[in-house]
Symmetry: C2
Subunit: 242 residues, 2 copies
Amino acid sequence: MPQFDKKHGYPGKLFIVEGVDGSGKSTQVALLKKWLESEGYSVFFTEWNSSDLVKETTRDGKKKNILTPTTFSLLHATDFADRLNYQIIPPLKAGMIVLADRYAYTAFARDTVRGVSPQWVRNLYNFAVKPDISFYFDVPIQTACERILTNRAQIKFHEAGMDLELSKDTKESFKIFQGKIMEEYKKMVGEFSLTSIDATLEIHDQQEIVRGKVKENLKGYLKKRTIYARRPKVFWRKFSLS
Amino acid sequence: MPQFDKKHGYPGKLFIVEGVDGSGKSTQVALLKKWLESEGYSVFFTEWNSSDLVKETTRDGKKKNILTPTTFSLLHATDFADRLNYQIIPPLKAGMIVLADRYAYTAFARDTVRGVSPQWVRNLYNFAVKPDISFYFDVPIQTACERILTNRAQIKFHEAGMDLELSKDTKESFKIFQGKIMEEYKKMVGEFSLTSIDATLEIHDQQEIVRGKVKENLKGYLKKRTIYARRPKVFWRKFSLS
């Protein structure tokens, strides 16, 4: 299996975005995707917690609130392992650019806040592929919370960290929970050499910085113009005997 | 969370049995349970892979053969974490004797044979409670395989390790797979100070040895005569004001 502390040897590239809810990372990765595609790159996008394998189990467990921090953490890792294997590694092997909205760092932050050992959860994800760039969108906690709390009618139970019993008020709990998560992210910037982006800048200005870093990383990378699924077809057409 | 390399501090006792399929461990633990109960102990029995939480997911994944060694390992760990939390720790806290048919060592053996890193899977289970005695039923591979292959009409796909593509013949694959698992067990006897029992002895003779070890371990243990669920009732009857 790959190892999280070693550079991967796949021909593709893996760029990921991290940050608290409301840091603007999803907007930035969406803009990055559009730009890369317009430049002719073959891009694959993947999100946290999106594998079919454990979706139902996680939903059920959350609904009944029967999950302990350890089972919660293990379910997310299982989801991630499945997604890594079917959505991340194959396009990387095919030389594509993979963009991920949240990565193992999300688990390191959240699970640690929920009470599992920081070292244990880092070992747990040791099968993950090390990203080529990990962007961290750094924003004051107040700004992030305002963005979320004014734009959403409702904050979900686990999203607000209500299982941690930080406060009986959902909004208050959300703020404390996000604050604790941010503390974990701040520790990781140095630990994992995350590329920190000032997320208080204008959207356009942040995107310029992100593109600059990506461009630099793509030097020497062989652009794939065809998408993965189409390659065999092209191959056989080219070398067909008929 | 508890730590696998440290003695637990619960008032109860945890005795577990391990060994390859056909080693006779389930017979031995069943006899041990009957004996302990007849001696007036309050006993709780639990089996490997029996939590409701991930049962369906594991079954589905197995059926479709879409699980990689890592996801397979993580699903088993999730099952175990759930079971530990709801079936093992509560009776231990209540001072009961918990008997487990298979424990984390089963994962260490099987997952390592399936290809995950031995160190990674050991770290993965670091949240587990260290058993008071871990019995390992040591039997020649030939004997174990004969017992299973003559008593069963069919060996399941994963039970035979068919996912490892060791052989196209189920029985042959089963033998090779069990042999590899046994090698892992043999390494663990020293590593985890497992209590090795000669499983070629008569059932009765093995049981005598097992009971002897358990008796020794129970010295100083305060016997619980009432079962966990009934305790509050007894309490209120005794101290009722009416």
